[in-house]
């Protein structure tokens, strides 16, 4: 039974929505630049093509890690999206799954990218991996503090389903001052987690050709791309669950939920299109400075009941 949930919700549904979202992202980017943009099935075709190509392994690479890293990253994203779907679909579920599990599973893809980059023994991949590592160190603290806000406001419940039912009863967290500040912090962190433009230092194509993924090709590169597209669904969906009351299936609330998701995706795309890339030291200073202070203010406000 669990395996069915994992395959249907965690993999198929998440992949479908993630690919669609990445098409929206590419299309909006194209329209911002006054171009036509790719057709709707382009992300799917890219993945199919990559799976049909030859997979090359560098001679010096550590084969186990090189093959294992994309699989582990992919599995953890599928697992976390199963968790989110099940909590949204069925609030009376026995399991489980609290915010800490989700937080943990969202960190694993970044760690896998770091591992895969170092395993390929490419100089560009090493630089990209070390940048990714610094980025992880810088954004995790504000992210945890931003997620503390909904937990404090719901009376210290860590369960996702309890957070959802609290929001259904008492109104969404984003409607309060501390909630909106925490949401802004979380959006900035998500930009870095997804590797999108102001914080795409790890994959800077014009500096270090493709970052940790330089030496990946064929099916393994396809797995990475699929994982990133699924992250593009799972992370905004996680924010929806934590701050804006998730997705409900009764009548008008469903359309409202879809609009919330599209709104978050559009916000991320707009941020990505109107910003230049920052340097890694600027990114770290930004996350440890203003963003952490903002998150701290949100936590203090939440403690005071605002």
């Amino acid at each position: 039974m669990y395996i069915v949930y994992f395959i249907v919700y965690g993999f198929l549904l998440t992949a479908a929505i993630g690919l669609l979202a990445s098409w929206i992202d590419r299309k909006v980017t194209a329209r911002v630049q006054y171009r036509v943009g790719p057709p709707i099935f382009q992300p799917v075709i890219d993945i199919v093509k990559l799976f049909g190509k030859e997979t090359l392994v560098p001679v010096n690479a550590s084969r186990v890690v090189f093959f294992g890293a994309p699989m582990i990253g992919f599995a953890s994203v599928a697992l976390v999206s199963t968790l989110l779907w099940m909590n949204v679909l069925d609030k009376g579920w026995m399991f489980l799954g609290d915010a800490i599990v989700a937080l943990y599973l969202f960190t694993i893809p970044s760690l896998c990218i770091i591992m895969g980059g170092f395993a390929s023994r490419n100089i560009y991949a090493s630089i990209g991996s070390s940048r990714e590592m610094k980025l992880v160190l810088s954004y995790e603290l504000p992210f945890v503090m931003a997620l503390l806000v909904p937990i404090i406001k719901s009376g210290f419940s860590l369960r996702l389903s309890e957070l959802l039912s609290y929001q259904a009863a008492h109104g969404v967290f984003i409607a309060s001052p501390s909630g909106i500040i925490a949401f802004i912090v979380a959006i900035l962190v998500i930009q870095a987690k997804l590797g999108f433009v102001p914080f795409d230092v790890a994959e800077a194509e014009t500096e270090i050709v493709g970052g940790p993924l330089v030496d990946y090709s064929g099916a393994l590169l396809g797995t990475w791309r699929l994982m990133k597209n699924m992250m593009f669904f799972a992370l905004p969906f996680f924010l929806m669950v934590m701050f804006t009351g998730g997705l409900r299936f009764d009548g008008i609330h469903f359309i409202y939920g879809v609009l919330k998701y599209v709104g978050i995706v559009a916000l991320i795309t707009v941020i990505r299109n109107i910003n230049p890339r920052v340097r890694i030291d600027q990114a770290m200073r930004f996350f440890w400075g203003p963003v952490t202070v903002l998150a701290l203010i949100a936590v203090v406000l939440a403690f005071r009941g605002l």
Partner: protein, 141 residues
């Protein structure tokens, strides 16, 4: 035609490689990616790394220094891949025909699937060439 090849033709990622060109052809290739020509509508993206590429766009006259690197890079492209020779130099060595430094033209070294003439070819010519290449592969299979 197999689904593999069909998907490849719908999303060919290109990598451009200069084997000693004067940079004019490279600039024209980059022009294709600008909003005016917008080749992303055909699914074409510029790949940063050779391992991500499907189509190799080769410019320049294949001089002795760069031929070694070009062979190494050609071995690193995941197959199936296609090779396009862009510009006069890559086709026939152009004005370097009798130079001591350019012993053989490109298509004597690796298999070339399409030739795009011009010095340099216009972006429209490059797009037309890529479309003709796609038609050719479709017709062959």
């Amino acid at each position: 035609m197999s689904i593999k090849l069909k998907a490849l033709l719908k999303s060919p990622w290109v990598f451009h490689l200069s084997t000693g060109s004067c940079n004019n052809c490279d600039i024209e290739i980059l022009d294709c990616l600008t909003p005016k020509f917008d080749i992303e509508r055909f699914g074409i993206l510029l790949a940063g790394s050779i391992k991500h590429a499907d189509i190799l766009l080769i410019t320049g006259s294949c001089n002795r220094q760069s031929v070694i690197r070009m062979k190494k890079l050609y071995e690193q492209v995941p197959k199936p891949c296609l090779v396009v020779a862009i510009g006069e130099c890559a086709m026939s060595r152009g004005m370097f025909m009798h130079s001591y430094n350019c012993p053989v033209p490109l298509d004597k070294i690796i298999k070339v699937d399409a030739y795009i003439p011009g010095c340099p070819p216009k972006p429209e010519a490059i797009i037309a060439g890529v479309v003709k290449l796609i038609e050719k592969v479709k017709g062959k299979k």
